[in-house]
């Protein structure tokens, strides 16, 4: 097997983000390569969600650059909409559209954004619901689904745009413990298929098993970054050790 040189898909170059007088990101530099799974971990309020939201331009940044596929995120709205089509995002609170069935939640992106004919979009949506194990829930409204099921629909919804990267912001934090596994399994399978993924998570076991690289955040900065073995078994900074210690991580 020949080694494929890593191709960066997302590059953060000295990203600074402020909210009023508060600086949420203090110059973050990071690369995410094609096919890589990067897990962001760190204490609450350290800026993990903010970094994710800056990745697809939901939050504008104050200085530095975010590059997607080698190109800085455009400021012009229409160009930004086109970039967002190529990135999927999954939210902690699912954000399914409550007035639409599971199937229509998944089909809405292709229909409204890509202008795909309804029947074709529904076929694609059905295949994706099947992929996340929810073909039998196609006609259900989100309110009738469990949290784990809603989040799987949300993953299918993002996949319907056939994105090049998937951004996950604590996808299992709002879930009952018994439904966390089904969502993580779907994510694991996606990673195995070679999807490029940035995952903010408190699921250390997932990070350890699935991540190619783990990035530790604190106070808007990257404290340490490396393969999971390094972060979890031989952390190089005391701050990483402290953070993992707080979580009761035993290695």
């Amino acid at each position: 097997m020949t080694a494929v040189p890593p191709r960066p898909v997302i590059q953060y170059e000295g990203v600074v983000k402020t909210f009023g007088t508060f600086t949420a990101l203090r110059g973050v530099s990071l690369e995410v390569n094609h096919g890589e799974v990067v897990c962001l971990i760190g204490p609450s309020g350290s800026g993990k969600s903010t970094l994710l939201r800056c990745t697809n331009g939901l939050e504008p940044i104050d200085s530095g650059r975010v590059l997607f596929d080698g190109v800085a995120l455009p400021a012009q709205p229409k160009a930004l909409y086109r970039v967002r089509q190529r990135m999927g995002m999954v939210f902690q609170s699912f954000e399914l559209f409550p007035h639409k069935t599971a199937l229509d939640n998944v089909a809405i992106g292709p229909i409204t954004v890509l202008g795909m004919p309804r029947t074709q979009a529904r076929e694609r949506a059905m295949a994706l619901l099947d992929k996340v194990g929810l073909a039998d829930k196609a006609g259900s409204l989100p309110a009738k689904l469990s949290g784990g099921q809603q989040q799987r629909v949300a993953i299918a919804r993002a996949l319907a745009m056939q994105p090049e990267v998937m951004l996950f912001d604590e996808p299992t934090s709002a879930l009952d413990p018994e439904t966390i596994g089904e969502v993580l399994n779907v994510m694991k399978r996606l990673a195995d298929e070679g999807m490029t993924m940035v995952v903010v998570t408190h699921e250390m076991n997932f990070a350890r098993r699935v991540a190619d690289r783990v990035v530790v955040f604190e106070k808007g900065q990257v404290v340490e970054s490396g393969p999971p073995e390094q972060i979890f078994d031989a952390p190089k900074t005391t701050r990483t050790r402290d953070f993992l210690g707080h979580l009761g991580w035993q290695g």
Binding site: Y81, Q85, F91, H99, G109, M161
Partner: protein, 219 residues
């Protein structure tokens, strides 16, 4: 005092015409004031200062003036301001539209604000434009939430159309009051008028109650 109910039957074509005009006035006002209300709400939510300012002034003015005053104002001032000579019907319609649009604007503004930002962001994350996200995600949800309020506004409007009788729009109230002054059958005509308004209004109020019960929030 002897009652002479025949005055009601004898004048039924005129009364029917009044009823139809009342209904037409209610429908037309709502047909204009719903999109008008959405537009004003969007202007008030917009970051563009002049739009925002205009909409705020419009809404706060017409929401806080008695309708009857707006009706007179439209009758005497609007032709001077615009140079147009409007029919009585159009003038009454304009006055009602000003008032109801202002009300609907606040209704829609609250409805739109009640849809959390994450919903729009979920749409944006799929690559939707802001306007697409608004149309396909926010508005349908807001619509469900405001429908009961709009229905109540409708019932008030149906009764408030009677206020345009002061500028001689021949709707139900005007017609009934005209017949009263021509025939001097005060009690009969007022009773008939009340009965007709009630018979038309009661089913509408019941329908509103039904909508209130039916339109639960989906989450």
């Amino acid at each position: 005092m002897t009652l002479q109910w025949s005055v009601v039957w004898d004048n039924w074509p005129a009364l029917l015409h009044g009823v139809l005009l009342t209904i037409a006035l209610t429908f037309t006002t709502m047909a204009i004031a719903v999109p008008g209300g959405i537009l004003l709400a969007l202007m008030r939510l917009s970051p563009i200062r002049p739009l925002n300012l205009f909409a705020t002034c419009f809404v706060e003015l017409f929401r806080n003036l008695p309708i009857i005053l707006v009706v007179y104002w439209a009758f005497y001032v609007l032709p001077v301001l615009t140079g147009l000579s409007l029919s009585a019907f159009a003038t009454g319609l304009a006055a009602l539209c000003f008032n109801v649009s202002a009300y609907n604007s606040e209704t829609f503004r609250a409805g739109i604000a009640s849809i959390r930002a994450g919903q729009t962001e979920a749409g944006l994350a799929l690559g939707m434009s802001r306007s697409t996200a608004f149309r396909t995600i926010v508005l349908p949800q807001a619509w469900r939430r405001v429908l009961p309020v709009l229905a109540s506004t409708w019932v008030s409007l149906f009764k408030d159309t009677s206020l345009v009788s002061v500028i001689a729009v021949g709707e139900l109230a005007y017609t009934a009051l005209q017949i009263r002054s021509q025939t001097f059958r005060v009690l009969e005509m007022l009773t008939a008028m009340a009965a007709i308004y009630w018979l038309l209004g009661y089913p509408q109020a019941k329908l509103v109650d039904w909508i209130h019960r039916r339109m639960g929030v989906l989450e």
